[in-house]
Symmetry: D4
Subunit: 249 residues, 8 copies
């Protein structure tokens, strides 16, 4: 049921062709499918054209499979994050085209082609250990139809490595800066480019990094303009938002 | 020994039929059974008519079984929370009627019927991952003789899912709102209904959710009136309190 | 000195018309003016076309006046944030066109016209007390050439107030959500619109709001997609980033 | 405009007597009055019969007076919390019947009589210094039509003081326990009574009380059943919720 | 080498019978045995007559065995805390008299008799789950020659259980109060008795107990006089200090 | 009413000479005087022979004066802590013998002589800035009949200053160690003496001392045996407990 | 009394020319002068040749003047930190040569010339607001006989400003990096130079800078080698340590 | 490519012998080797003469082996920290000379001799459990060509053990103080020696040590001059910085 159909229904109510109660029921049931333990948000498709997204952590294997099974009926692309290899195997037995991205723990299913943008998102990491989070951002953005350029392990302790990639970073429409420890990468990039920077603190580090708190606070306090921050290790959120910005016209 | 018997004993003291020391001993021993490692609170029955409740975490299997064995002698209903399946098996060998609720890790034993209320408690969760905590609340309330309605996975990121269940939520005598991450569900429900809302933050989330701290703080700072909060993941506490309110006359 | 002039100088070096050392000196001095206590970043103009920006907190009155005096020589627009009325008076004696925005504590000086965008930024607050931070965002964005729509006091505890402004919020190219206390506004807006949402936690609240920590954590943990967060009370940062996104083509 | 009138309008839309756009406008404006900086929630009256409530902290004197001025037009009772004496004086010049409760900083205006309940709320404090927060709870509950009994300075360090008031506490329909420092009062009361206990941590204390954090955590971790917690120093919230529970039938 | 021998050596230095350097070397090596990875504090025996104490956590099995082996040469009693059963087994193969106290994870070796005091220490716990920490305190105090009375599971949520043991608690020379969760036990006992109370917060609890922080803060903020606090789960420290106080004359 | 009188009353109840209700009333009123805003604990005198103690912070001037006025009727000594000079002046007009100890902000009134102990308490500070807290401990202990020796400014950064006072410290029956910043004094003293050490963290310091948190945590984690800790800046608590220990026989 | 005199005294003891007790007294009194509230560490002079240092915060005006008065008797240079202008005026009336450094709040008195090093310390700040802390470091180092080069306002958000001063920074023997907010300066400098970097977090910032915590954590987690951190706003500590390193041979 | 070669290339550009673009490419690729997931910083060798350093935590076994394989091509010494035995085995199959230091988890490969300093670094620990971190510091410093003296288990609770090693500590050019729990060792050493002290907090402890936070805060707040702090458990950082200082001339 798309926006046009909804408009039609409202006209029908106005003309008396459909009783108020019936319409209310139809509309009430419309925007999600109720599995009891989950309400699948069908409405998102109308609003965004996005693939369906499932956050797997805290859901049982059975729940994830049931949700994806329901979603596949509509023929959409699917993106499932924070998924273990066990969950992937269960999904694979449901849908053989499912792909697993091991570093970020993402399952993707491509049912229809997504046209990619000409502009691109630069995904930059401070270290090698930040790559899983960066890949979560990159794969998410790609599934949403964005071109992505990856620049990994260019942290500020050897700033010439970052400066060497200056061109590709400044050429992006939006930049995702992924860093743990002291999280300085976001500030330095923010000072170099005149583009929106989405900063992703990671839990990489030990001791007084306090599970990513150090990088999180540093990024929130960045003295560089044009930076905003997502949750620790939230590559998905950064990829989604950057994709949204990259596709703005 | 019920309230009437206690009153009788006091009269006996006054009339000199029972020496002060004897009465003191009887009263001192009255309200609990001493197992050494545990003092079972027999007095609760007089006060509340509730089933006995055991918090299993941190107790050995032997201790839980010994406590339940002692309680069963009185023929009461029993509710044991935060119980592993191993503990359940040990209890089952003691009492075959014991039931296990796997999601919340609850053992229940029903020795006598509990009449349920006409009014009901609505137990609402933001996500699928919050269900175990919600079930802890729901099962607790049901064991205490309350009717419960469950509405799961209606978090604020797709607020139409919540609004679609508005009727059943506003029809409750008291609402339990269970949410992790940003815990916004409690505020939105608090703004929709004119009923007491018991908010339960959960440890669902990662990174800057800091084990449920994020949802806890959000719920404590709710700008909606009529909301109070229990400990993170404390479904039991919410179910108990909501049951108490639901049964008020 | 603009980008073309810099390119020319480099050619001169290559052709031997300018010795390396001379050029190094020229370039070294180029991108900022050194006042000793401050290095004014002249380079920003080349990169962004933005007004000069001064963060006044922690600077003495004399320092702010000296910096603005230096900047005015270049004929640019000026935006000074976190400025007290005393600082404003000192600036006014230097430049009578200086305007003071009392709620956010901002000084603006408009030396040249900035053409505003057709698309707009929606600045939304949960409460009345959040207005000063929201105004910091709005004035910043306007100085950077953006059209801004303000919607104040539509927090989630009375969600019909928010829904009543749904059209104007969904019509924006980017939304700034400003909220203290439990910060739920960002999640609810994030669930309603398919646009980038910049969330600004404020220090509005008391007790367990811990100076804005509650709203900050809630916003970082938002279950809504497409949201990122700036520092507590950082209206400027949100306005700057939103402006950057709004002007993307 | 009451619920009946709203229903009528919807019928008019259905019958075509009122165009959709007109109705939308009427409904959009209905539930609140827009002062720009504040959206007064007129809808609350329909839902709850409550007095209007204004949280004064963070609002300018002018804003508070404008909001109250608008509210007074409807002839409702008014409750303004966290108000300084200066704000009170400004309100008084608008409405001479305004009363000021100095300890909690509350302004009340009684335009119509509120019938009080037979059942009562017990408001109990651990110390003398907790009284301002307790009075905020008590005055709020009274304005909402509840009978209140006050028992002050009966903290657990001299538990005989608490036990001496056992009867009046157990006779309440709901209890509000107000305590700073170690916040043990809530647990001890929770263990004594079989009624809902609303615990209010206060910022009374120093050093490792960390502004009320100590009492807050203690109350959240209470081993007593039937307890829930509101924000630090949030007497209003406790009074509102307790009143809601006390008036349940 | 005892105090007398040390005094003699100093006389020898004064009389020139022992060169300064030689004496310095003798004294330097005196008060501890150097195993490289550990310096065994032989001096403690001179000062206190106490058994040797080893904190096993973070030491390898080999290190613990080597330290105990060295200590056994002097014929003293030995107390090893935070020891796993594996460590116990290794120690047992060295010394068959070694005993293992499983709940607290303590190894004791009694080489000489310790005469016990007439006065006693009361060790009181709020719940059953606090027993391991309480046993660490009790066994430590007993090894140091103190009589100990144990009263377990008398938390404040059923205060009659605590009051029933009032006599034995008030009869102690010093009381150890062991509690997790909200830690209210210490305040209530502190208000009942006029004896030093050593409060031991435990990590028993979940959610906002934050690993014992809740009980720790509550105990530090106790409004009862005569209370001091040791580290979370530090039964040893409480037992040692209480023993020291109990043996004061 | 002393312990003997209470026993007599109970006999009267048993013999029927006093009706139960009357006795209940007498006993209920016995142990405290009710001023409404405060319940003065008369019972403490029976239990402890201590002077009355008032914690002034958070009480109004009128409340403090009323409480002291009531206490003076019984002819006891009085100790009022955390009192400003304004409060002192108000008390002085009530009782000219009141003395003010400016550094700790203590008011004392001596109505009857207290015999001092032969043994003494050593009160030791790390720095000069810790003296106000140390004086709170010392004056409290002295009011409770203890001899006190003061050793100030002997922090571990110049450990020879501490070692120079080793004799007077080891000669004490109990030691109070007062330190801010890194709080190392408690551990070093704990390692030097074989006596109970009460550690008092102070809020002296800046930056990462976080209001005394640094010293508090250091003292709780002391590797020295025989140490317990009171709240930050709680000189009173340390003085009270040390006095209690010093007077043990 | 210098090292030679001490050696002589020890010889006298050995030869019997000075009784043990007398020598003990002389040595005990030697290394500090006891003012009661302060023990002035005379020994530091022997060890370090440093000026005397007084930390003024938390000391009364009278105490500071008394300490400096005592110190002046020895003719040493004096450095007093965290001093208000009021304290300075009091000191000035004692010693007219006293100088006041207003930004850091330092008083210096130069009684004898200090020869400066050839090598230098670079003191670098991220912003203008960090200058007071940087000046505390610089003045301290200069008083200790070090040459200092100041480079202010070269934070990473405009990294060309920092790179422009690369030569002077890499030419230093040790670098002090002073920054608030996200504290990234330390990491970037640490990556540029192969010299010890002393990082000083400042409390400059707001919101989630949490009084300097953000910069502190970032600096502790720096991925650059060769960096260590001092307390928030501790310019003195950084200047002292850097001076110590700079003067190493 | 060394510094001389770089200078030559720049001359070639100036003379037109090498086109700008070619040179840019050469220089861009110069200072690191790009493995995609890692950019090996070849430039460090030019700057420091140090061995290559790999932080293994968070890198896969394959990544570590690939990085080391690349590094070995240049014939440098290699230091890999936080490496498990599994990683070591994989490295060993690549290079049989690889050594494993089990306590700190360090892999070293010595391809060329490093001449050691005459001056030395003293590495001191408070306890036996701190040794792994201390060894990380010591091995790092030794690989960088420094002589190291180890003094273990001399914590302040038995300060005579520390004083017995005073000579070796004061004879060092720089001291590394490693301690968990209350971290007092750093302050006591800082007060004894007139040398730079690098303090390393460890996560040794439990309860309120909060993973090393206690020791970290204590060390940051040290009242001893000349101390700076590295991250919790960061033996590597301390060893690297101390080595840098020890080798200063």
């Amino acid at each position: 049921m798309n926006t046009e159909e909804i408009r039609q229904l409202l006209e029908d109510v106005k003309e008396g062709r459909v009783p108020t109660d019936t319409a209310a029921d139809m509309l009430k049931d419309l925007p999600f499918t109720d599995l009891g333990f989950a309400k699948i948000d069908n409405h998102r498709e109308i609003r965004t054209g996005c693939p369906e997204i499932i956050y797997c952590a805290g859901k049982t294997e059975e729940q994830v499979v049931a949700i994806i099974g329901e979603m596949l009926k509509k023929g959409n692309n699917i993106l499932a994050t924070k998924a273990t290899r066990e969950v992937y195997k269960a999904v694979q037995s449901l849908c053989t085209e499912a792909e697993y991205h091991a570093a970020p723990g993402i399952i993707t299913i491509r049912k229809k082609e997504v046209r990619s943008t000409d502009t691109y998102i630069a995904v930059v990491t401070a270290g090698t250990s930040d790559i899983p989070v960066a890949e979560e951002a990159a794969v998410t953005a790609e599934m949403l139809g964005n071109r992505v350029e990856r620049i990994f392990d260019v942290g500020v302790a050897g700033i010439h490595r970052l400066l060497a990639h200056r061109d590709i970073i400044t050429g992006a429409k939006v930049v995702i800066a992924v860093a743990g420890m002291e999280g300085a990468l976001a500030s330095v990039i923010g000072g170099l480019v005149d583009k929106p920077v989405i900063a992703v603190p990671t839990s990489v580090g030990y001791g007084a990094s306090f599970g990513g708190l150090s990088a999180l606070l540093a990024m929130l306090n960045s003295c560089a303009c044009g930076t905003a921050v997502v949750n620790i290790d939230n590559g998905f959120g950064a990829g989604y938002l950057a994709g949204m910005i990259n596709r703005l016209e």
